[in-house]
Symmetry: C2
Subunit: 411 residues, 2 copies
């Protein structure tokens, strides 16, 4: 039997774990009795359209420790894209080119590692495959720090981002507690529509530090007056108040809380800034106290040196699972993860039809947010805690994390 090859690509925004899934796909392909080589498409599905590939099987044999280094390298080793395929009923030219490439490379399975938009591509390609009666298996491997994909317990990349956020909040707390003066520190966290990452700030709490003292998620309409009352109340019981806020908080009419809005009342003109700055200005204008805002920036999605071992292990396993699903003849689906127990924490790998996943988003459920809308419940902490457990053994060279050479991307 002439063995077929597999093709894999990555799409959407970076995470610390997306290469672990790629490593899982590669390892499982190398170990597969059914598939031969593992090709990677550069810059997502764009790489197929421009015939830009890497032979990952070659890389794994040429570069010492390749699969291990790949697992611990942040962001996409294959690069990414933001590209939405048109409906093939309107224009099938991209589709016919992609499937001609599959034929040319003798592809038996295509794996797309990504978030919501990438699952839309998986859906469209698998529908087209059905339409033209192609037997290429099309399978999605989830990835997003936002944890907003439906039908799976949580998403690869989320645990590492959550660990980075909780670590940062704890370290910011130590930084904040040193002065014996009243202060408010506002920490802005990613997550435009879902509050999962901001909720993870709660994991920083321990026996000596209750920071963050207030948590604001995009799922709860934000009210300036109620916020100021919350802050004043916290300042009445402690010196240093630390607040976790999602970049995506909105008022009751759905308008983002930005500095533009907060400052417009005072100075009559617009400022360009995010939610953290907006709340900083609000406190500055209304409460006589030292205040600063900190934006947990892109590092929350690429600080692989502080990744969660649980996250990397699960991301790798989901890559492997994708290959075994293809071997079993599955297509038009995404790998999912079911939590079978919380204590001890155990999961099972499975799959779900892609049609119910693409273009849908999962918010933090109302019952996991406290009544006052300024904190999360113990149940949500129990859900989150297992996901940040374990540290990875990061390789270092010259005092810095040793990551894989990505000069094929940086042109």
């Amino acid at each position: 039997m002439n063995k077929k090859n597999v093709l894999v690509a990555q799409s959407g925004g970076p995470t610390s774990a997306i290469n672990a899934s790629l490593a899982g796909v590669l390892k499982a392909t190398i170990n597969s009795g059914q598939y031969d080589r593992c090709y990677g498409s550069i810059n997502g599905i764009m790489g197929v359209l421009s015939e830009n590939y890497l032979d990952l099987t070659d890389k794994a044999s040429d570069i010492p420790n390749f699969i291990n280094l790949l697992t611990h390298t942040p962001a996409m080793y294959l690069g990414s894209c933001r590209f939405k395929l048109p409906d093939f009923k309107d224009d099938d030219s991209s589709y016919s080119f992609i499937f001609s490439q599959f034929k040319k490379l003798n592809i038996g399975a295509f794996f797309y590692i990504g978030g919501n938009d990438s699952m839309d591509t998986v859906l469209k390609l698998s529908n087209y495959a059905k339409e033209i009666d192609s037997d290429v298996k099309i399978i999605g491997v989830p990835k997003t720090i936002d944890n907003d994909l439906c039908h799976t317990d949580h998403t690869p990349g989320f645990g590492s981002a959550a660990k980075y956020i909780a670590t940062s909040i704890l370290e910011i707390a130590h930084d904040t507690y040193i002065y014996a003066v009243k202060s408010v520190t506002i920490v802005e966290i990613m997550g435009r529509d879902a509050g999962w990452l901001t909720a993870a700030a709660a994991l920083a709490r321990n026996s000596y530090s209750s920071a963050p003292h207030l948590i604001y998620l995009p799922e709860v309409p934000f009210d300036n007056d109620r916020f100021l009352e919350d802050v004043k109340k916290e300042l009445s019981v402690r010196n240093n108040v630390i607040i976790a806020v999602s970049e995506g908080i909105r008022d009751k009419d759905g308008n983002y809380i930005t500095a533009a809005k907060a400052m417009a009342d005072t100075f009559g003109h617009q400022q360009l800034s995010g939610a953290g700055k907006a709340l900083e200005f609000l406190v500055k204008e209304n409460i006589n106290v030292k205040v600063r805002s900190v934006e947990i920036n892109v590092l929350q999605r690429c600080a692989a040196h502080n990744a969660s071992k649980t996250d990397l292990d699960e991301s790798f396993a989901q890559g492997e699972k994708a290959v075994s699903l293809a071997e079993e003849g599955k297509t038009g689906c995404m790998v999912i993860l079911n939590r079978t127990s919380n204590t001890p924490y155990t999961v099972e790998y499975n799959y779900a039809q892609i049609s119910g996943i693409a273009n849908e988003a999962k918010s933090v459920p109302t019952e996991w947010i406290n009544k006052d809308g300024n904190d999360i419940t113990g149940e949500l902490v129990e859900y989150l805690a297992p996901l940040i457990q374990g540290e990875v053994q990061q390789y270092y060279e010259n005092g810095l994390p040793k990551y894989l050479d990505v000069s094929h991307l940086n042109k």
Copy 2:
């Protein structure tokens, strides 16, 4: 002989290594034949004025692994203050109180761990001690992420901040390289007056990534037009340009480059923001390319989970050295570090009279900045590289770094 005790305090801004120096003072005191107990003053010299102390010798015997945990806990375990003593010739009331406390606690040596302002306190206290003929030894232990203290090769805390910055730039580079579109990423780094920290961004460069592609230090007057030319030139040779910029860059007249200034020309009103945002706006207005700015925030001074082993080891040793200097009868001085060789990297611990150190600052020398004023020289890289070497064995608990309980600060 009735053994005397020592008193130690911390002051100024946080670093990841300042508790390592405290741990060094404590360890050396415990091992001293000359001194008995080690007391800590809470919130710097303010703790003496308010009689707020911790018995660190007790802590070391009560809390398992205390000295090791202390070494790896970020920010000040004893808290900090920003307090400048008046000239004792104008008002000696604080001084007489402080020295009455020294008598009450049977103090033989006082150690102040801090930066420039703290060394001013060491100078004033040691001058007063001379004036009143007190034999209490007054010794400074340096600390500042800014690396701007004179008479010492480099300062405790700088190496860990430099390692965090270089790691972040490398991870941001991976994050940036994934899209096949032209982009500019501006990374703002701490250091209001000295460019050492921003220079450390250059350590992120390796065989596959030349980021940061441009580096702007506060030592070089910043010119908007020249900056835009630099960026255009870099964009002509690569897709993704990454720029390291100090928060303290100023124009030729000494005015800080802030978004206020950059935006005033375009919209006629002021924006409140830092140098990174200012350059982001500049690029946005003048070059048609995707641009974003990232502020490496307070985490650069408190991310102990990514500390430099070289830095922690040297910080600890400088704490120990302070105690041995006191035992030898030295006073009115600061511990210093001489680099005796670069390859292999070796240092010697010594001391310098405090009068030549307090209230002076060390900038990056002109000869270590390239001719175009947009990068650093190889000599500076050689100076910096040894300081970020080595990783610390960080303790973890529940998925987060395990730090010491600081509930005595967070009231």
